[in-house]
């Protein structure tokens, strides 16, 4: 594809959002041509409802990662649309960034129920707390664990072997 064509091709959801004047930033296309949108935590709830109404009825996966040591934490949602007899369905990837000190993101459990366990896992592993989630507690680690294991600055407790610097 020529570079000019790539620039003009915006995902339909992004075009729709722009038409309705909603603030979001496009983070470009990932490797397969799926557009990534960046949303602020305050807008996330309304944009999630809008995506559902637009037709994205299947939330494939929700994950979280930390962007850089000392940087923000990101919560990533992959949405797609399940329809009868569709080939190469539309997909979109939405990232919501939260600050490291006080990571709070509204939960979308009441829109797509499949994030129930997945948001619990993001909370468990990275400490992002999701508002309005019905039962946000640790799921994979024991309830009494302290610390957020998947953060890059996590130190495993009582682990005294010689660690090699990579």
């Amino acid at each position: 594809m020529k570079p000019e064509e790539i620039k003009k091709m915006q995902s339909p959801l992004s075009a729709w959002l722009v038409k309705h004047g909603l603030v979001h930033r496009s983070l470009g296309f990932d490797y397969q041509g799926i557009e990534t949108l960046q949303i602020k935590p305050e807008d996330w709830h309304s944009i999630a409802v809008i995506s559902y109404v637009y037709g994205y009825n299947y939330l494939r996966s929700q994950c979280a990662y930390d962007v850089a040591p000392g940087g923000p934490l990101a919560s990533v949602y992959h949405l797609t649309r399940i329809q009868y007899g569709v080939d190469q369905p539309e997909e979109v990837c939405i990232k919501v960034f939260a600050s490291r000190r006080n990571p709070k993101i509204p939960s979308v459990f009441w829109i797509w129920k499949s994030v129930d366990f997945q948001e619990r896992e993001s909370y468990d592993m990275l400490g992002i707390s999701y508002d309005n989630h019905p039962r946000l507690k640790r799921i994979l680690m024991p309830e009494s664990w302290i610390g957020w294991p998947l953060r890059k600055d996590y130190i495993a407790p009582n682990f005294y072997e010689i660690q090699d610097a990579h």
């Binding site: 397969q32 299947y58 994950c63 990662y65 369905p89 499949s114 640790r138 994979l140 294991p149 610097a165």
Partner: protein
């Protein structure tokens, strides 16, 4: 277990991490009113091994033995997806023969997984035949470590294709026998029909995938939708049912096994010759005669040798595993280790619907429903 004094008391029963059915270590806290289930809360994490954190410190070749431990019944799928991610990132072509071999292995693995789901007392003999086939090719019955970036690790041995065709023919007769034995059995039907019903809309909202989705009337199979590997060249149908109860899921899995045999037979007939691995990947930038390789310097760190580098992009790859949609969200850093390796396990997401399904069912139905969801704790907990 406490005995209720009056009928109004709700009894809370703990079906502890170890129980005789072979799902693995899953703890269910069940609130009962007599025999009816009011609520059920699954407690996970007994098999959590930190696979995602480990992946951030391993190269792909080093990580491949770990991935077979997620879903240890359908191991080829975990390997396939681990290898597909970097392949797509690095734009590596897979030779045709390797693609066919992969498709055959994946379908055999799907049959093995569905057979184990079917019941150990019925299907062990056939599963052992499949494991023998795997052992002839990869050297191991279960934890294969067979897939590599750009193809497979070794070619099929001489005479394997004939053995596989024999197995396919034998298997079709055996499946017909199972169907006669089970599907018309009134005891089985009574336990399974109408138990654990989910509607089509709900299934999508809960994010389920795999046979659970297809048993509720939604024809969504990633092998058809995504056109990955070489599934387009075979002639097969997506199996689906409409009712959404445990019987429908059972029928979907049995029919999927038959479709898999069809695919394997077509692949075996049409397998092309050629290379089985893209050997270009193995060529790295090695500096010649580095003085650090001399005997005077000793390596005391675990720094791995220069190997396949992941570019700084993100990717979400998925395959249609027998349990559902297995996905990997891979964020590459310009280095040999990934920055984030998120596993999207089908069992984890399919398990979310358990509390809703068991409401108003009897205590004995919990096991039936849990069996029909077909989870495996190795990938739920990772």
């Amino acid at each position: 277990m406490t005995v209720p004094a009056t009928r109004k008391d709700l009894m809370i029963v703990n079906m502890g991490p170890h129980h005789p059915s072979m799902h693995g270590v899953l703890r269910l806290i069940v609130t009962l009113d007599g025999e009816d289930v009011i609520n059920c809360e699954p407690v996970l994490g007994y098999l959590h091994r930190g696979m995602e954190k480990i992946a951030e410190n391993r190269t792909i070749i080093q990580y491949l033995p770990y991935v077979t431990r997620w879903d240890y019944l359908a191991t080829m799928f975990t390997e396939a997806i681990t290898v597909n991610g970097p392949e797509q990132l690095g734009n590596i072509q897979v030779p045709k023969r390797a693609s066919y071999i992969r498709a055959i292995m994946l379908e055999l693995s799907r049959i093995a997984s569905h057979l184990l789901w079917l019941g150990p007392f019925m299907a062990d003999i056939e599963r052992e035949l499949i494991y023998d086939l795997f052992e002839a090719v990869t050297g191991m019955r279960m934890m294969h470590n067979y897939f590599r970036i750009g193809g497979v690790a070794a070619d099929l041995p001489h005479g394997w294709i004939d053995k596989c065709l024999d197995f396919c023919n034998y298997f079709l007769t055996v499946v017909a026998e199972y169907q006669k034995l089970i599907t018309r059995n009134p005891i089985f039907l009574e336990r399974v029909e109408g138990v654990g019903i989910i509607g089509g809309e709900e299934v999508i909202n809960w994010g389920l995938s795999g046979p659970m989705l297809r048993a509720s009337g939604i024809q969504w199979d990633l092998r058809k939708v995504d056109h990955y590997e070489c599934y387009d060249e075979f002639d097969w149908e997506v199996q689906w049912q409409k009712e959404g109860d445990s019987l429908a899921r059972y029928l979907v899995r049995i029919n999927e096994m038959k479709e898999s045999i069809k695919i394997i037979q077509q692949a075996l007939e049409g397998i092309p010759g050629g290379p089985y691995e893209n050997l270009e990947v193995r060529r790295f930038d090695r500096t010649k005669d580095s003085e650090w390789n001399d005997f005077e310097y000793r390596f005391i760190s675990k720094k791995p040798s220069p190997t396949f580098e992941l570019s700084k992009q993100e990717l979400y790859v998925r395959v249609e595993a027998p349990k559902g949609e297995l996905g990997i969200f891979l964020i590459g850093d310009q280095s040999i280790f990934p920055w984030r390796w998120k596993i999207r396990p089908p069992g984890f997401i399919n398990l979310q619907i358990l509390p809703q399904l068991v409401k108003r069912m009897k205590l004995a139905d919990i096991m039936t429903i849990l069996g029909s969801i077909d989870i495996i704790i190795g990938e739920v907990d990772r």
